[in-house]
């Protein structure tokens, strides 16, 4: 319970802080529009050469694009700012200030920052998903919607874990800023259904980098092609990965020796 209260408190402070910089809203808006426009142009281009890609029609692919933008927005709003700050703190030795606080260290480093204007990206993702769904042949039932919600939440947890495991690497490899580029690059694989990729790559973006679970699975739910087994696997995998992340974080903590203070 106190974990939730702490998260809420940090979120409130973060939001109040960000609200001071209103021009950032416009910047984010332009960037979100460009992102959506690029995505749509690519879809048009692809579907001007074919009618279906790996069994996905254009409206289905649009739905997938929406989910990818939506989850990307959530990551950019809540996860990435924290991880960047964590890398900075490890580099400069200022992580001490967080560690001396009487709360769980993993929780603290995960909720300190948020970039609230990035929610624009989340909203644009929701809109694209909505438009995609409205063009689908079949309508989505309550089970599909529930499966989508579970899949998206699981995906969010998986991506958070992935980010934290990589960032924890900063305790060994101090200069980590390029990891951001690495993740952004790999996250782009989520723009297409995982089935498009050759076997070795499908395996990588499913289990090494959990993009498939995070984006393809929720989108499969919306397009009524998700098997219950896949969702269950996704849940079990998320629990396992979360446990591993927690263990790995503690290994990393033992390695950290501070530099300032």
């Amino acid at each position: 319970m106190s974990a939730l209260r702490l998260t809420w408190l940090y979120l409130k402070v973060g939001v109040l802080n960000d609200l001071q910089y209103r021009v950032n809203f416009l910047v984010q808006l332009v960037q979100a529009l460009l992102q959506v426009a690029t995505g749509l142009i690519v879809l048009k281009l692809v579907y001007s050469h074919t009618t279906e890609l790996n069994g996905w029609s254009e409206p289905e692919m649009l739905t997938l694009l929406g989910v990818q933008i939506l989850l990307g927005g959530v990551i950019h709003t809540f996860v990435q700012p924290n991880m960047e700050r964590l890398m900075d703190d490890v580099q400069q030795g200022t992580l001490d200030y967080a560690l001396t606080k009487p709360a769980d260290s993993q929780l603290l480093v995960s909720v300190r920052q948020c970039n609230i204007w990035q929610l624009v990206e989340v909203i644009s993702g929701v809109i694209v998903t909505g438009v995609g769904i409205s063009r689908l042949q079949s309508s989505i039932g309550a089970t599909d919607a529930l499966a989508f919600a579970i899949g998206l939440a699981t995906g969010g947890v998986l991506v958070y874990c992935f980010w934290l495991v990589i960032t924890t690497g900063a305790f060994w490899v101090v200069r980590m800023e390029n990891v951001l580029e690495l993740f952004e690059g790999i996250y782009q694989t989520g723009r297409w259904p995982v089935g498009v990729y050759p076997g070795w790559m499908r395996f990588s973006v499913t289990f090494l980098v959990p993009i498939a679970f995070a984006v393809t699975v929720p989108a499969q739910a919306l397009t009524s092609r998700l098997h219950g087994g896949t969702l269950l696997l996704s849940l079990v995998f998320a629990v396992a990965v979360f446990a591993f992340t927690r263990w790995f974080w503690h290994v990393g903590m033992r390695r950290y020796s501070g530099a300032s203070a």
């Binding site: 416009l26 910047v27 692809v46 790996n54 690495l182 993740f183 952004e184 690059g185 694989t189 070795w200």
Partner: protein, 286 residues
């Protein structure tokens, strides 16, 4: 960094020596410093490069699977040709990383520019030299990536000696074209600290019109026409196509000339922008 400062203020480089020789010495020293610095950050460099490999691999997989489903080719391109295009793409993309617009924002915001302005040479010289040195490291690191990608995707690549020669020049031409235009856009930072949206617009145009997203022959005709009159395609499509495509000697050489022309135009634009930008610059400390 210290090696660079030393080179800039090297007492052996006196005013009596011809200016060009001094400049060449500066470039060599800066490039050497860049190579030595970047070699130490091999892991960081590899993370960066691996992140970039994802982008062309995604394009390649998508377009190959379209080619497969429509009888082996898409607009005349086979999967092997697409593989060649996007594998060469990875090198060209790396060559196209320059001291870009967002770096100018950093340089101004952090007050670094004040110190750099005190040097006898324009900061642009330093940027071109440093990133050129970095490229040497990048090319070395790229070779294993290219080998792995080739083993995975079986590119169809049979360049002639002339094509290889033109390619070797064209990647540096692309580097210079992009440096000039990115630096020019970077001048916006003297007016606003929120240039991010403008840079994104520029990058989006580049993505669509340069051949970065898809080989330009997959684009609608009017886009191809439009691209001919803009600088973007000389930074991606032309260098890649010079190696993987079947271009005539004439169009290969004309392409190099076009690159030279765009470097000139870019430099001119940069100087115009710089002249009015620098008047607005004021900083304390740094």
């Amino acid at each position: 960094m210290s090696a660079v400062t030393r080179a800039a203020g090297d007492p052996t480089v006196t005013a009596r020596e011809p200016r060009l020789r001094a400049l060449a010495a500066f470039y060599l020293a800066t490039m050497r410093a860049a190579i030595q610095t970047q070699l130490q950050y091999r892991v960081a460099n590899y993370f960066y490069m691996l992140g970039m490999v994802a982008e062309p691999v995604i394009y390649l997989v998508v377009w190959s699977s379209i080619a497969d489903s429509s009888g082996g080719t898409v607009d005349g391109l086979t999967a092997g040709q697409l593989a060649a295009y996007y594998i060469v793409w990875t090198l060209v993309r790396n060559m196209n990383i320059v001291f870009g617009a967002p770096f100018w924002e950093f340089r101004i915001r952090e007050g670094q520019l004040s110190g750099q302005l005190l040097r006898p040479l324009h900061p642009l010289h330093y940027d071109v030299a440093y990133f050129a040195g970095w490229k040497i490291v990048v090319i070395g690191l790229w070779i294993p990536i290219a080998i792995v990608l080739s083993a995975l995707f079986h590119p169809d690549l049979h360049p002639t000696a002339l094509e290889i020669a033109v390619f070797c020049v064209a990647i540096w031409g692309a580097y210079l074209v992009r440096t000039m235009f990115q630096s020019t856009i970077g001048m916006l930072n003297f007016w606003t600290t929120r240039g991010g949206a403008m840079f994104d617009l520029y990058m989006t145009l580049e993505l669509l019109l340069s051949g970065r997203l898809v080989p330009l022959q997959l684009m609608p005709g009017w886009v191809q026409t439009l691209a001919t009159f803009l600088p973007f395609k000389w930074t991606f499509y032309f260098p890649i196509e010079s190696l993987v495509g079947d271009m005539s000697t004439r169009s290969l050489l004309l392409g190099l000339a076009a690159q030279a022309l765009w470097v000139g135009i870019g430099l001119l634009l940069f100087r115009l922008a710089w002249r009015s930008a620098i008047k607005r610059f004021s900083a304390v400390g740094g």
